[in-house]
């Protein structure tokens, strides 16, 4: 089977997020009040050949931990992508 997977990479809690804070700071001037805790991250989409959804996610998580994210500063969350 072939599973579509998405990986969301965001900075770990507690790590400064200059992109997120810059966006957040600019929001009031654009008229968006009451928006908080903006975090910027990356999204990866790919397909994995696997025998089960769990196996696909396991492969994706390994790939995400090894390459797509830097565990020193980032978290990677894998999920099956909706079509």
């Amino acid at each position: 089977m072939n599973y579509a997977v998405r990986v969301d990479v965001t900075l770990r809690t507690g790590i400064a997020d200059p992109a997120g804070s810059t966006i957040e700071r600019s929001l009031p001037t654009l008229g968006f009040d009451g928006v908080h805790r903006v975090r910027a991250g990356k999204l990866f989409l790919f397909e994995v050949d696997a025998s089960s959804p769990d196996e696909a996610l396991l492969t994706a998580q390994k790939l995400a931990d090894r390459l797509l994210s830097n565990p020193v500063i980032e978290d990677a969350r894998c999920s099956l992508a909706e079509d």
Partner: protein, 225 residues
């Protein structure tokens, strides 16, 4: 030290500058492509600045998987002097040879400007010819030079005297004003500023001399200001 390998990843761009600076001090510098699997013939290794593999995923993220990196790990484990400049520093942290990570600059723009660095430790191959407290003017040239690490790592860095250079006026948001660090043994050093760009007053500063002379194991001819 006479023979230095300057590693070229596709996308490196400071390799000629690093080689030219080392050669001006009498060393022989060889450009070594990232596919090399053996560095044992060299007395030292420099990972130069640039944008290895386009920096597309994260700076240094893909370079870490180049064949040369296992050779570099062996070289470093054997006590060989290793210097990562700018992108080279980013590669060393991604590869786990140095702790922490380099994030985007606080101001979210690229910065190319001279910075005053303060020597924080002389227990490294890069700073061994300088004195603690020396102020050196050396340019930075990066988008992701904001040094980040967790509290435990930071404590360890400080306790083991691994912070080798600090910014006098922090330009990028680095934790504890850190501009460069070493591993515990002091033979692997990474820094964001470019000492090879500060080798002559014609180009604005000669303060990089004391660092690269130290790296090559030459007698200190000059020790800051």
């Amino acid at each position: 030290m006479t023979s230095v390998a300057v590693v070229v990843f596709p996308g490196s761009n400071c390799e000629y500058d690093a080689a030219r600076a080392l050669e001006s001090l009498g060393a022989s510098a060889t450009l070594v492509f990232h596919s090399a699997q053996d560095l044992s013939a060299f007395d030292g290794v420099v990972l130069p600045g640039g944008f290895a593999h386009g920096d597309y995923l994260r700076p240094g993220a893909l370079a870490r998987f180049s064949p040369v990196m296992s050779a570099l790990e062996r070289f470093a484990a054997g006590g060989g002097p290793v210097l990562g400049i700018c992108n080279g520093f980013q590669v060393l942290t991604e590869a786990g040879l140095l702790p922490g990570a380099l994030q985007k600059n606080r101001g979210l723009t690229f910065l190319c400007q001279p910075e005053t660095l303060v020597v924080a430790s002389t227990r490294s191959v890069l700073t061994r010819a300088a004195n603690v407290g020396d102020e050196l003017v050396i340019p930075i040239n990066h988008f992701s030079g904001n040094y980040t690490c967790d509290d435990a790592t930071h404590r360890e860095l400080v306790e083991n005297d691994q912070v080798v250079l600090r910014y006098r006026d922090n330009p990028n948001g680095s934790r504890d004003d850190i501009a460069g660090i070493s591993n515990r043994a002091g033979n692997v050093v990474g820094l964001m500023p470019h000492p090879e760009r500060a080798m002559s007053s014609l180009l604005g500063s000669a303060d990089g001399l004391v660092l690269l002379r130290g790296f090559l194991g030459l007698e200190p001819a000059f020790s800051g200001r």
